[in-house]
Amino acid sequence: MKLSALLFVIVSLLAAPLLSGWIVRVKALFAGRKGSPVLQPYHDLFRLLRKGAVYSKSTSPLFYIAPMVTLSALIAALCLLPLPGFGALLSFQADLILFAYLFALGRFFTILAALDTGSAFEGMGASREAFFSVFAELIFFLSLATLARFTNSLSLSSIFESHAAGVNYADSPALALLLVSLFAALLTENCRIPVDDPTTHLELTMIHEVMVLDHSGPDLAYILYGAALKLWIWSMFIALVIISSFPSPRWLQPVIAVAVLFLIATAVGVLESTLARLRLTAVPRMLMAAGALGLLSYIILG
């Protein structure tokens, strides 16, 4: 059991960039282009890892420590994430709170690194990140409360275990509502359209990309890898919610998880190809709507 979980962590670490590569591929196909290979993110990472770095004269050691702290926090969060059907590497009571707060730790340092450059653009991105993530965190805690109450358990592994044990709310609208609100939080936390555009070239409209404008070389590699890992973790969380609501044999669950993962990435890619970015002032409204759906789901189940 623990061995499988350890294997899961290692596979996740290796496969995470695949997901971002897949999204780019989907977007390219949608636009009628051939697109870069799915393995392109790996090439980018290795290229960056071989490079030197340029640091602004304004920055302090915090500037390059921050990406490492953020990435370590994400890897720690990965250790808490259960492998569908088999549980997590580390599982204990109340680990869901730590899971959520590890993201906050990463955010805290990313924002500080952005402010460390003294750039107005990076400050702007940091400010938006700080603001929007409050909503995303609220939605996430709401969904955690829903799941915890419904499954009567307080650790991620047992939450996603007890669904498999036969409790099933797939026939209730609550699941759909929960998934929609979680998906909105995923888009926010991972800086996707309609909240943020990861490929925009205008600094004024960016959120996450503008915060890391000054990072280069291995530091940028850590940031890009961290972003991929974060997307992987969030998608896996949604996949876990889906998988554990339908009864299926245990050995099959990891396979389904991979399928769901790529389904989510495809959805993100399609969404990014068909939707425009929202005006910044409209983002809180969208997130509040998503939060309301989450609350509805809690009420239906509660």
Binding site: S56, I75, Q93, L102, A104, L105, A148
Partner: protein, 669 residues
Amino acid sequence: MTLPALFFFFALLLLLVSGIAAVACRARETAARRIGAVSTPLAGLMAAPAVVQGLFFAEPVFIDLPLSLPYGSFTLAVDALSAFFLLIIFTIASLAAIYGAEYLGREGAVTARGVSYFWFNLLVLGMTLVATAANGLLFIIAWEIMSLSAFFLVTFEGEKPQTQKAGLIYIIAAHIGVVFLFLLFWLFATNTGGSMDFTHFSRIILADQKTQSLLFLLSLIGFGAKAGFVPLHVWLPEAHPAAPSHVSALMSGVMIKMGLYGMLRTLSWLTMPLYWWGAVLVAVGLITGLLGVLYALAQHDLKRLLAYHSVENIGIMAIGLGLGVLGLNLHQNTLIVFGFGGCLLHVLNHSIFKSLLFMAAGAVKQELHTLEIDQLGGLRKRMPVTAAAFLIGAAAISGLPLLNGFVSELMIYFASFSAVVSMAKGVTALPLMSLLGLAAIGGLAVACFTKAVGVIFLGEGRTPAGAAAADPAASMRIPVVILAALCVVLGLAPILVLPLLKPVLAAVTPVTWETTNAELKKIAQPLIYLSLIAGIMAGVFMLLWRLRRRPLAVQGIQRSGTWDCGYLEPDSRMQYTASSFVQPVIDQTNWLLRTRTVKEMPQGYFPDTGKFVSHTPDLFIEKGYRPLFAAIAWLFHQLQWMQRGRISLYILYIAVALLALLFWFGGLR
């Protein structure tokens, strides 16, 4: 008297005598500051045996003095709850005293410094007495000593109009609170047959729920005024910025917690709480926490920001307390242990990081002579120790993992989650609100403290004043470093605090020792895992560090300007300011906060100057207290016709009054 009791008594005496000695030094202020710096730590050492006995031995320490006091005896008792607060009082006060010796050397008039230490020692003495008084009247006297000495500490620079205003608001708030405490103890005494001894309070079983509820409400208002529950919080953002920094550290870190001590003490006597008490406490906590953090976001002055964060954290403690009370009512041990336990632990943790933050702010203030956040910047280059300590404190107060703030919030989260999971269908709204409230408070606190750290310590300096700044002298630096180390140690090895919580929980709650133990075991496992995860993160961090060393060694590191989209003359004034950073939040919550802005756009083809000013006044002062006090003043103004200043008129009043009395008593017979 036992030996610990004797030592404890002499600790109190030492505080008083050395305070007087500090005043007696007069112009020899260096000596006064030395006495001040040494006396509190020494008193702390002398009180230590009593604290240890109170915490770890079931038998409390009693200090009976052969003094007669109406309504009871002059008794001090150090039980586990008292000892827990004494530990906090003496730890923080000792560090603040040492810090203050250097700090005061550069503040105010020379003769005022000795006097300030007198009040400082008296404040410590007052808090010690509050935490140990075993009699209602003694408690109130101690409470007044504490409140009044804090007033004189706040008005250290009494010649400034801002300070005068702060002092006035503080003293009014403190005395509104104490009125309710008088009523509280009087009501207790009428139910015990006239005795104000605490031992009687705990023994009687109050029959009717109305009296119990009244007692609860009186303690909520009376102690809430000191703790800073919204809407009684208005004195905090005035008093903390006005006071010298080591005093702010002591007041914000410790004194406001005496309000929570009072609540905990009262709740330990009211053994059958009603459901709505818990609900009220949670609601008050949520409102206090959310408004506190929102107002903190809108502040431009660092110490005001920190003061509002104290309000926020008091809110978090109130949420924990409320959940604990709910647990008492519902007989749910998990809720009791984690609600009360989280509250207590947050009291300890907040005292550590809040005094750390105030002390770091004091160092900044003495170097740059301003705490206006948008005037600061880039200070980590000049003040690396202060910057690092402030960063740790900021991360801790935001409740981030691996630091102590997370542990207490984890316990309160755990209580909320377990209530969400275990309560009956349809009534989980309250714990769900507390859960979401905590999440929102946490998210906004991250925004607020990234702003504070980022704008003050990172980036480039915004004024030339910062160029000459430096870390303060060792005696101001060391207390800050110790506090930062405490944040880290209690965050990395949180299991250490559980033995401290156990006896206190046993003293406050009716839950048995075995149940408390069993419940705390539930958190012991997560706490060990927390240390394990810290280890994993450290390992990953080292790995990443090594991985990037090679390419950087081969390819080298270049230094250049910050990328500003091709603009060649970046200027420190182009940095994002604190007000811009929080603008999205402020815009969204403006219906509540009502930030006032003054904008003067640059005009014409050759624009001259532009101006932007924003200010967020406290809504409760603006819409609540100011109209209220204006109405009271108006009412009294209406009686002015009676006061004409003519002797003949006053003689007439006296005659009329005498006549009225005559008829009154004559009529009665």
